[in-house]
């Protein structure tokens, strides 16, 4: 188990810069997620930590030791690949034992450690089978067992859940987190799926176009997005152009068209100064009420339902308030509003965040 430090690393492929100068500190035992759309450089970062790619500039330290020139087979890392990458010609037990053969593990101990790893991933009886005889989820567990049996300093997970179907993915998410908690290994997880990132991580690094947009706990990046990109990438957000009229001790006053004055808590709008600003309003925080409903303590505006996207437990509306189309995701209480209904759109100021304007 070790900490990982990226010190101003840069990766260029020819004239294309995949990763702009990036510095990150991953404390020992942390579950850190690199989150972003494809092409944002998250996998490039992971592959540089792994030693599968050399950084063009900067230093990588694992456990305080500079590893730029340490080849991959000497870094003692466990990697789980998106497509599992199990050796098809070896049995499950041989797959898991593979890494132990290159360490000074006595032959007599290997079988026991392989079994312990298979027990940990809750597949104790498949050692004699071949990978192709297992389902996708089982193969992924074996890939995890193979990576952790060597007691790696760092566990690297490259979109390990994206090849699984939806239900299985959620089960594996819980399972993966349980195992990581149990062995406490420093983990770097790469994904483009915001719900995986929010559910599993101690810290999330949101990346875009080769740059880090924000680093923080899941709650921080979700509730206090540092940029418009982060606000949009993690969940659906409405970004409303507004004007900051006053910055008080507790709240920042934003003047939003149609809705009027919105006092946003100052810790959720730390960068906002008087002048142009943006209001970040999560779709699930925008509540639709009957046209004549009272909404004490909430900011309201009249709106018309334009599109209804029924999802069973919830419903996603597109509404028009003034000249703006807004998105609202609401729990269904009785029946959803029908298309064309006049409603009152309401939200609480403390659910919003503020960003500096253009």
């Amino acid at each position: 188990m070790s900490s990982v430090v990226l010190d101003n690393i840069v990766k260029r492929f020819g004239s294309f810069t995949a990763v702009h100068p990036t510095s990150l500190e991953i404390p020992e035992g942390t579950f850190l997620t690199l989150l972003g759309p494809s092409g944002c450089g998250k996998t490039t970062n992971l592959r540089m930590i792994a030693g599968l790619l050399d950084p063009t500039e900067g230093e990588i330290l694992i456990g305080g030791r500079r590893v730029n020139d340490v080849p991959i087979h000497k870094r003692n890392l466990g990697i789980v690949f998106q497509n599992y990458a199990l050796f098809p010609h070896k049995s499950v037990a041989d797959n898991v034992a593979f890494g132990l053969k290159y360490r000074d593990v006595p032959k007599s101990e290997i079988a026991g450690r392989v079994q312990a790893a298979l027990d940990l991933v809750q597949l104790p009886d498949v050692g004699g089978r071949y990978p192709r005889e297992l389902s996708g989820g089982q193969q992924q567990r074996i890939a995890l067992a193979r990576a952790i049996v060597i007691e790696p300093d760092v566990l690297l997970l490259d979109e390990p859940l994206s090849a699984l179907d939806a239900n299985l993915r959620e089960d594996m998410r819980v399972e993966l987190k349980r195992i990581q908690d149990k062995i406490g290994v420093t983990t770097v997880f790469v994904t483009h799926d915001q719900s995986e990132a929010l559910a599993m991580s101690d810290r999330i690094v949101v990346m875009s176009a080769g740059r880090v947009e924000q680093v923080g706990t899941p709650e921080e990046v979700y509730n206090r997005p540092a940029s418009e990109f982060v606000a949009n990438f993690l969940g659906a957000s409405n970004i409303l152009e507004s004007r900051c009229t006053d910055t008080g001790r507790d709240a920042v006053q934003l003047d939003v068209p149609v809705f009027g004055a919105v006092p946003v808590p100052v810790d959720k709008a730390p960068e906002v100064r008087p002048g142009p600003a943006k209001l970040v309003l999560r779709a699930e925080k925008l509540l639709l009420l009957a046209e004549d409903a009272e909404a004490p303590g909430m900011v309201t505006a009249p709106a018309v339902v334009e599109t209804v996207d029924y999802q069973g437990q919830t419903v996603r509306y597109f509404i028009r308030a003034g000249d703006r189309q807004l998105q609202a995701i609401n729990m269904i209480d009785g029946h959803p509003f029908a298309k064309g209904t006049q409603v009152t759109a309401a939200f609480r100021p403390r659910d919003c965040a503020g960003l500096p304007g253009a």
């Binding site: 080849p71 087979h73 497509n83 199990l86 050796f87 098809p88 990576a147």
Partner: protein, 288 residues
């Protein structure tokens, strides 16, 4: 007509062209050869129909035929080995190169656009007494007399390797190209050096391609007659040359038929043994 009947007929309709070609061009002539091998050659030239074992007795008991059969198999085996050793690294290089794979494969196929006979004869201009290599060596004074490099078993093998190498490279390439590169990365991450990862993962997974390429090289090599004809000396005849000699030169169709069937049976048996023991089915199972 019912749907079932139509569906049952469909594969046969699709197979019909290939099946008729195989029947007319391969199976029927083969039956003729089998029948011919029991006829007798008469001094007058017209072959005598009947059921005579004379040709088979001669083919199976004459030491001359047996020795040439053995040396044919040996030459084919050496050629196959050389092709495997030379072809594997080339195939690996092509499979692992980025972007320009298609161009490299095209270059590999390029020799096929030139007649095999021309390609074989080109070695005479390179290795002959007044060929390129001798001229060069004489020119820089390494030798004072031209070397006799042509017309021996080594040049026959050289010619065969030249002819068969692309088949090996293509077969190995196809199997290497199908191997997920993450497997080597995974092996490296678990502590294997690049060489260990190759031996443990890539090589075993590419064996089906190597086996297929080897089989193709061996069978094509053992059946060749042009290469020994052009590049071999009088003592380097291979078995197909005997068939050619019997049928074309001596017009002894019955004996030629018996000899060609003998080669066919020997190669057929070897292919079956090869399949059985190299366990290609077993390897395919591992690949899923």
């Amino acid at each position: 007509m019912s749907v079932e009947a139509r569906e049952a007929r469909q594969p046969w309709i699709l197979l019909a062209p290939a099946l008729s070609a195989v029947t007319l061009l391969l199976f029927v002539p083969l039956v003729f050869i089998v029948v011919y091998s029991f006829w007798l050659r008469s001094a007058t030239g017209a072959d005598l129909p009947g059921f005579h074992l004379d040709n088979w007795r001669e083919a199976l008991t004459d030491r001359f035929y047996r020795d040439i059969l053995i040396s044919t198999l040996r030459i084919a085996a050496i050629t196959t080995l050389v092709c495997a050793l030379m072809g594997y690294p080339a195939a690996y290089f092509i499979a692992r190169s980025r972007g320009n794979k298609m161009i490299l494969l095209l270059l590999l196929m390029l020799p096929f656009w030139i007649s095999y006979i021309i390609r074989t004869m080109s070695w005479i201009n390179i290795l002959g007494v007044s060929g390129a290599l001798n001229t060069l060596l004489l020119g820089i004074g390494v030798i004072s007399e031209p070397l006799n490099m042509l017309y021996n078993e080594a040049t026959v093998i050289l010619g065969l390797v030249h002819f068969l190498l692309p088949f090996m490279v293509l077969n190995v390439f196809v199997s290497l190209d199908g191997i997920d590169t993450n497997l080597e990365d995974a092996a490296n991450s678990l502590g294997a050096t690049r060489w260990q990862a190759f031996l443990q993962v890539t090589l075993p997974l590419s064996l089906p391609g190597l086996a297929a390429g080897g089989l193709l090289c061996f069978v094509l090599g053992a059946g060749t007659y042009i290469t020994p004809l052009v590049l071999g000396g009088p003592r380097d005849a291979m078995f197909a040359n005997l068939v050619f000699e019997a049928i074309i030169t001596q017009l002894n169709w019955p004996l030629g038929s018996a000899l060609s069937l003998m080669l066919l049976v020997v190669l057929g048996v070897l292919v079956m043994i090869y399949n059985r023991y190299l366990g290609m089915a077993q390897l395919m199972k591992g690949l899923g």
